[in-house]
Symmetry: D2
Subunit: 155 residues, 4 copies
Amino acid sequence: MDLQAVRDSLEKAALDILPTTTLAALPAKFYDNFIIKGIQIDHIEPGRVICSMRVPPRLLNNGNFLHGGATASLVDIIGSSAFLSAGCPTSGVSMEINISYLDAVYANEEIEIEAKVLRAGKAVGVVAVELRKKQTGKIIAQGRHTKYLAVSSKL
Amino acid sequence: MDLQAVRDSLEKAALDILPTTTLAALPAKFYDNFIIKGIQIDHIEPGRVICSMRVPPRLLNNGNFLHGGATASLVDIIGSSAFLSAGCPTSGVSMEINISYLDAVYANEEIEIEAKVLRAGKAVGVVAVELRKKQTGKIIAQGRHTKYLAVSSKL
Amino acid sequence: MDLQAVRDSLEKAALDILPTTTLAALPAKFYDNFIIKGIQIDHIEPGRVICSMRVPPRLLNNGNFLHGGATASLVDIIGSSAFLSAGCPTSGVSMEINISYLDAVYANEEIEIEAKVLRAGKAVGVVAVELRKKQTGKIIAQGRHTKYLAVSSKL
Amino acid sequence: MDLQAVRDSLEKAALDILPTTTLAALPAKFYDNFIIKGIQIDHIEPGRVICSMRVPPRLLNNGNFLHGGATASLVDIIGSSAFLSAGCPTSGVSMEINISYLDAVYANEEIEIEAKVLRAGKAVGVVAVELRKKQTGKIIAQGRHTKYLAVSSKL
């Protein structure tokens, strides 16, 4: 996938209009849209993607800061796009994910997400992802995502 | 929180009706609803929660199986409820999460999620969470979630 | 490797005599010996190994309890042997390791280490490893180890 | 601990002479010595330590490259020293460790290890540790280590 296509796949994730009126009727592949709608790409080069978004209310937890599961989903989705930016034919399937949560971030704060491919082998790739507060650079979370890239083969 | 209250907090997560017509207008604290709507508790005892759900289309990835970020969100949310079932005054804030993805699960397959508290100290707790196919017992994912439980104090 | 050979590879890890008089002259492949000398296999079946050892003074940290690095090394070594017990042609190369430390264990306390293969595919395998106090069953640490098993191929 | 004391604690880890002739008789707290003997500090500042060493034969695995358990031990030990360099009163006790193994490194190759504190709160700290080949900068492993720093309190 060329860099423009990777950019488009993230930025044009979804129409903002909800396609149905019930949770049960939400269609397949809606998940990425739900997580990243509103994101913009600030920088993209082979193996490295930097993007930013304002934390939307829908991604908050009961403490009113960014949900740990939403953070994990961002690590997954933006990390996967970094493999595509590196020229991998697919973004692979998830094998491992790990995240350290370092600080809370609240609704409408602007965050920056940087994904950097550490390794992209024929079979396995690893990407490091960091979430930071855009204004201060303070780290919100740091994680790594390991993917199996030879998806036609068997794990 | 007593066991019935923990059960209710998971099962009665949401009305199925979407409260708005745009993603941007979805309200705060909608995230848990989005992930766990449809879940039912099969067993609950202090420190251990087992629940099940049919994989809904909204939680699929582009490969049409359960999204890695949705799995991580389930580990987060069901793991947190296990701390409440153990009598912790709060479910704390996330410090670390890690997940190994072992198998794919598709729309409408029934999964079982078991969360078991490994440690619930005054400051820090750790819970192990496993997702299995309900019919076969085959493991889909295994993770651990570490939380800071003394939330009034400073990390 | 048959089960007796896996057993022997762990139990007969080393003569107890140090082969040289300086750290610098210690030979290649001494590491496993250093970690597991004294271990005994309590149970072995395909994909599952349970062994026990008394915590030797050489594996303590400055707080006089089992060193986090020694625990990680045990997760690595005993986890790897579980792949061999499962009939994998090699124990592969390490891709990921993660450990939650849950309790301290002191010199001469007896510990039990259980390694259980969660998945052993053609390319990738995952094993869960738990360290417990043998007398009480209290969990000391829980980890997972992911290995690339198709070692002749390229990662 | 001041920076010079942190430096000394790593570089002067041990006499090279083995203090006994059997593994069983090796004394308590020998572990750090075994792992880091030969290391030198290239740079130290509050919250950040960079050191280097030639991979000694004693830390190899059966494939003749740096043992995964030795890598984990280096992440543990050098990571802990970074908390001391940041002015933490103790280096705390281990809560979590995770490592991605990215490349093999062989005997006598020179490696560089960088530990960088991501967070050092009153209760909990997180440090990122990276191992690289010194000549090429190629990443060998990347990990994080989470420690409980309020060690007089109860976890």
